[in-house]
Symmetry: C2
Subunit: 239 residues, 2 copies
């Protein structure tokens, strides 16, 4: 028997005009599914509705990924062993990237289940494209340290690495801590080091800026409590 | 006067069924443009045709990005200063990520031009999503060393870093060297280290596998001369 595939479904970054944020090919692959794994069933159902999912939601089986025990993951993927296809829906952006879905994808590979990633919005990729920094070498760090002392050490290590190897470093923060992070960056990094912030991506209020630390200081710009991706670069873009 | 924006346009990874690989919102933003920067005008025109660009291609101005002198980049972006919007089209995947467009985006920021990244296919992001490795911390290296000795050193440094910090490391190779790279990896890395290969992404012959070095050796699978992204992981996926 052929095993069912695991389809990785990106989700909206912002709820406006949702279906238009996803390629037709990806939408059609989602429309063909009846079985989903999601962090929160409620958000996932709202997402399906917003992208014009054509079947009654009462026919949809939504499995919640609230524990990460390996046993549980095997159970979630069991339908694939019977030839059924299962969709993994992210809460925002693409599954398994800055998102807890990784363990599901890992287990699918171990079970011999084919994994099919769909094209869709990713704040990390959009921020990197638009950063004006090096896209040939980059490191994503997830969340940085909460302690001011460790955070400064981390930022300076990134700056040093970026100078030596031309690496773009990027990371995220809980929105209410954005301005604190930004203040620490402006205090800890060299005036010529470049910082980029990509804020509210894909929403009508999206804004993306890249400036040196010195220019950020002069501008007085505040990010505010918005979803943001931060990027740091102290190298030279290779041609 | 308001400056025109720089719109970052992802391009196809494979030519089949092209328009269906792009969100309607992205297509509409491309359809509104008349001025483009591209590596090769010919491929870019073929791409526009394939995504059902609604205007005669004779009305399109296609500027080629064949040199990377800063003067040249300023000239390419000059229309934005007159309020015109300019599209930057990649040869494959998203502009400025594993792609020479970075210098254009950098210059746009310096000129105060707004940068707008569109959603579309990226082999790096698709490979990372589907890898079953850590998507909370990752480093992209572009192309690795050609010298066998340096390559082995690089691979072992990645393996060591991955063990310590749970980083997923990923990189690309010129297709005709894929099997040589794979052979070096299988020779140089620990049997338990995981390798993922994402081959021919978005094409009908797409395949994605993740196995340990030992399993790859036993399987005897060859990648062949196909576009591929390689990923290496020796850590533990955080839950």
């Amino acid at each position: 028997m052929t095993l069912g595939k695991l389809i990785l479904i990106p989700s909206w970054l912002h709820e406006e005009n949702s279906a238009a944020q996803f390629p037709l090919d990806a939408l059609n692959q989602v429309y063909a599914l009846r079985l989903f794994i999601a962090e929160r069933a409620k958000t996932a159902r709202r997402f399906l509705k917003a992208i014009d999912y054509p079947h009654p939601l009462s026919e949809v089986q939504m499995m919640e990924l609230n524990k990460h025990q390996e046993d549980d993951v095997h159970r979630l993927l069991a339908p694939c062993l019977n030839g059924q296809e299962v969709g993994l829906i992210s809460e925002a952006g693409v599954p398994a990237v800055a998102d807890p879905g990784g363990i599901i994808v890992d287990t699918a590979h171990r079970m011999g289940i084919q994994v099919v990633p769909l094209i869709g919005p990713s704040s990390l990729l959009l921020a990197l494209m638009a950063s004006g920094m090096n896209g040939q070498r980059f490191t994503f760090h997830g969340y940085l340290s909460r302690s001011e002392h460790d955070l400064q050490k981390e930022l300076r290590a990134m700056e040093q690495d970026s100078r030596q190897l031309n690496t773009t470093h990027f990371f995220i923060e809980t929105p209410y801590r954005n301005d604190k992070l930004m203040a620490t960056m402006l205090r800890s990094l060299a005036p010529t080091t470049e910082l980029s912030a990509a804020v509210n991506l894909t929403s009508p209020s999206q804004w993306i800026r890249k400036m040196t630390v010195l220019e950020w200081k002069k501008s007085g710009v505040q990010i505010g409590k918005q979803p943001a991706v931060f990027l740091l670069f102290a190298g030279k873009i290779p041609s």
